[in-house]
Symmetry: C3
Subunit: 339 residues, 3 copies
Amino acid sequence: MVFARNQWYVAAYSQEVGDGLLARTVCGEPLVLYRTRAGEAVALTDRCVHRRFPLSESNRDGDDIVCGYHGFTYAPDGVCVAVPGQTRVPRTARVPAFQIVEQDSLVWVWIGEGEGDAKAIPRAPWLDSPGYVTVRGMEHLDARYELLVDNLLDLSHETYLHAGYIGTPEVAQTPITTEVDEDAGVIYVSRRMKDVECPSFYRESTGIEGRIDRWQDIEYHPPCLYLLHSRIAPTGIEPGPDGDDPRACHAEIVYAITPETETTTHDFWMVARDFALDDEGVSEFLAESNRTVVLQDVEALNTLEKVIATEPEGYQELSINIDTGGLAARRILQRQTAR
Amino acid sequence: MVFARNQWYVAAYSQEVGDGLLARTVCGEPLVLYRTRAGEAVALTDRCVHRRFPLSESNRDGDDIVCGYHGFTYAPDGVCVAVPGQTRVPRTARVPAFQIVEQDSLVWVWIGEGEGDAKAIPRAPWLDSPGYVTVRGMEHLDARYELLVDNLLDLSHETYLHAGYIGTPEVAQTPITTEVDEDAGVIYVSRRMKDVECPSFYRESTGIEGRIDRWQDIEYHPPCLYLLHSRIAPTGIEPGPDGDDPRACHAEIVYAITPETETTTHDFWMVARDFALDDEGVSEFLAESNRTVVLQDVEALNTLEKVIATEPEGYQELSINIDTGGLAARRILQRQTAR
Amino acid sequence: MVFARNQWYVAAYSQEVGDGLLARTVCGEPLVLYRTRAGEAVALTDRCVHRRFPLSESNRDGDDIVCGYHGFTYAPDGVCVAVPGQTRVPRTARVPAFQIVEQDSLVWVWIGEGEGDAKAIPRAPWLDSPGYVTVRGMEHLDARYELLVDNLLDLSHETYLHAGYIGTPEVAQTPITTEVDEDAGVIYVSRRMKDVECPSFYRESTGIEGRIDRWQDIEYHPPCLYLLHSRIAPTGIEPGPDGDDPRACHAEIVYAITPETETTTHDFWMVARDFALDDEGVSEFLAESNRTVVLQDVEALNTLEKVIATEPEGYQELSINIDTGGLAARRILQRQTAR
């Protein structure tokens, strides 16, 4: 399996990692995740060295994992500390332990060579900041992660696939601008709509009535982190000269795109907002609506994966202007994978 | 995938093609079928040129199809007439449109090279003639079409697989005559039974009591059209010298055998009769009985396909006289495929 | 598919083979099993020579099988005695008939070259002896038979996978002795526990209260027959000098390990006991408990098979002392397969 291994990936939400043993595969690498009594998140290879039994289907003994098949016991650093029927533990008995960084409510894992540079992890501070409230979820895709990248970098699909939720005719009609920072490896796609219809997703959550200005500023940090800075304001309201923008509503829509296998993906989605912070009803509405939108994507992408499985070698797609960001993303992902 | 592509295939019944978008795969070729407001049946490749989304899961806008993912819009000739975010449509943006001929209540499609010769399509006029009433259905086979061809060209299996419906001991006992018109590519297999038991299928539908003469005259036009001219008459009743045969009952049993993939098949079945024309009860009985018989075949052929999947390379069948027609069919199909 | 074909395998329990047509695949070889009116067990290839229809989905006519598709008829020796539409039966029309030996309530089959040596079949006399009562069952494994061999030769897993049933901490703690008779091709693994806890499996069935001496003497005859001589006695009770041992309880636990395909297995399990012979409640308890234990193994081994399907080439296991018997078994199985 070919993945960009020397990259940081989101393995889980912080809240998912606790006393239990969580199985999650990242780029074909089976991991077991848990949290020590001291609160440290741990990621080990999810295979006992003895007869490959999944440690995630085993039991904890304090901070150690005791294999559910023959009792091989592993400390959080992956070193085997006990085996059955003998007191001597073979020196080579250890499972790989992976470097973890918890940040912005996300558990990032490094499955690459050597030590990963924690400072290279892209940020999504809204997810864990005062002044923002976040709803989130995770869906499993039976489709390769590249299809999700394509999907998220070309939001013109909102008009067709998500009509009635976040899609309006103006999304597909409005041209985009695309910029690629090749050095930093970041892609920016921007669509600024003026005096347009407000989709129900934002009308019901922000309470704005009438026409709006709507900005969709995408910032994609391949391979894993996708940020959509969404600004909704009554038409004509502009940010102040120093960037302050109190009369607009901001939704920071974050995706972590983590390949599971070559043809399946973990689709982590989050919506952080700076409006209606105390309104539980808005949280429920956004969680429910965004999940519906994500599931519409899941269904479409799963369909595309099935189509790919039956298509002849050398099938050619046709790309147009809206695909500029997606094509740049493919180029960067290929470069990262080749490394 | 290897198919006899330069041949006509039944893609659908005429009545199936209407306002909706019908997905159907013929010889590995994914098609979307629909009918224009002027009544013309259309078959396009079921893949948007942009990101391969199935057009059959999209929407119609008048006679056009608007892709459900990003809104690429196609006219009935396959030409793309609109794309999102820009006014210029790329010149190469078009999906293949396939030649269609509607005839005898069947929608024939040409997926081969160049233009197909409509006059080469074999006829089944009873399906759409006064003086005949037809019942029909379609089953999906998880088995290669060759197994259905084998099945239909050797009706001795009626005695065993369809006992109690159309099978009686005499079917398997009566020898057949086989003729092959190599130039026209047509196979004739004939079994003429004299003074035999009438199976319930015909006893209950024709009302004939007592012994019968029963003819089974097969006419197979590879690859797709199979005709079984079935004549049932009280024993001793013969056709007149000029072919008129008013005291016999005739059932024209028609199959269209359309490969979907290498190992799956669309099994279209029809029973046209020249008796009990106004008797709705007979129609219901024949539809129900024939469907039961077809499903018995489906179950057996699906089993054979699973057997083939596990059998060693170079497995050898043993053939006898009853297989003469089936072996001739294989020879012609191989010739058509090699072309 | 690579199997040790020149070996005896258990195809069925004697009680499974009767008037019906039983389909069972042994080492990739599809068989149909039945019993003649004279009481002889028969095993034929489960494929009609004509169009490969499974004979197990056909019908009996006295001692013959009549194919359910076209009526080819086979005698118990596999010779075809009738075909449809003609009186001459082709001389080559026959399906392979396999050598069967019924012994110890088991139906052994020889799928290898030439004639198998019936005297080479290992014995399990308790299954069909006065003085013993047997409970039994059979589970289907979605895992290769080698995983079951591994499982059964290393009982330290009882402590972890079967805790509360047959596992106690002492099983994993107690060292084993392993002997291999290379000439006879038999592996002996012995674990003798003194003054240990009695697991519920034996406490409730033997009625022994308090601490026990517990022997687990494994005798594996690759590929198919596994015997576990289990002795349970109140601590300190020893067998007499001539081997008589009336104050101990003996359970003869027998497995027949029959590969179905490369990755699936028939897991025949039996428990014969020399205690509580007339106690139906003990029979029910042992049948139920042992089935639970077997299903715990099935679940674990099915998981391992899935793990193997995703693991990279050249994956290395780590083995320790407890694996000595299992590794010897692999060596002998490889030798048998290479032959």
